[in-house]
Point group: C2
Chain length 161, copies 2
């Protein structure tokens, strides 16, 4: 099940990242800061948070998305992460679909995802592609030498003719 996150989910989201075997403590700290900011300094163009729950009620993953500043209705899927045991069961797809639906409902025009070319992210890239995203751009050596930035992209509404 996918629902909006609540303040009480803060530590679970942190734990999802730290046990992900993909993201590390600096990522967890960055996300935690964004999560705190969402509740401490609410703003109309702030971050949106979704969590995927297992049948037990445990938080199995989350997504964070929002308007890209200085753009006209471009949305950014900033973070998506699942516990290892939750992967490959459709939860990632549910999170992305819900983020896409929320953004489209408020007039979202396109959505972008910034990610890494690192082999560890291959399953994530397949997930983005299965949800209709295509690689629109690549910045060489962005994260570190040999690890490029990939920018995935999809339209949310048809481009006017």
């Amino acid at each position: 099940m996918v629902r909006s996150a609540a303040w009480a989910d803060r530590s679970s989201i942190r734990e999802v990242l730290l046990t992900s075997q993909i993201f590390g403590p600096s990522d967890a700290e960055c996300v935690d800061e964004m999560f705190a900011e969402t509740w401490m300094r609410p703003r109309p163009d702030g971050y949106n948070w979704l969590v995927a729950t297992a049948p037990s009620g445990q938080i199995g993953g989350f997504a964070c998305f929002g308007l890209e500043s200085l753009t006209k209705n471009t949305w950014d899927l900033f973070w998506i992460c699942l516990r290892p045991e939750m992967r490959g069961k459709g939860a990632g797809r549910l999170l992305i679909n819900e983020a896409v639906r929320c953004a489209t409902d408020v007039g979202g025009r396109i959505m972008v995802i910034y990610t890494s070319s690192n082999p560890a992210y291959a399953p994530a890239r397949r997930l983005y592609e299965s949800a209709g995203f295509v690689t629109s751009a690549q910045v060489p050596d962005y994260y570190i030498d040999g690890d490029n930035l990939l920018i995935y992209w999809r339209r949310l509404c048809p481009k006017p003719v």
Copy 2:
């Protein structure tokens, strides 16, 4: 002359943007928030500010740059803007060169500049190119339909072999 910005330069930087005929009030607000944050919540990976002064002492332009979060020594030239009467006289080049020097001195590996494909930015793009930046990536319709994101890129130190 190019020097580090001081807190007292805040209103001049805002004015440079608002009289730029390129950037608008929402850009000025975004920059002002970043400027305030630099002084209110200092952090090692915070923003760096340079100003270019005219012989009269007036602030003729500014640049803002910093480490790109979650990367290894990737720097971002977030903003660079000159008063219309200061353009084409080498001040933009001085600002970029100084930003590149500062970043390189502390181990900067690459520098990126996110900008728009809008014709209004053509002089800025020529400036980036003359300072050794190349377009590494392009995201279609990023700012608004028909206005792409361009990511300029240059190495600051040679890539190890």
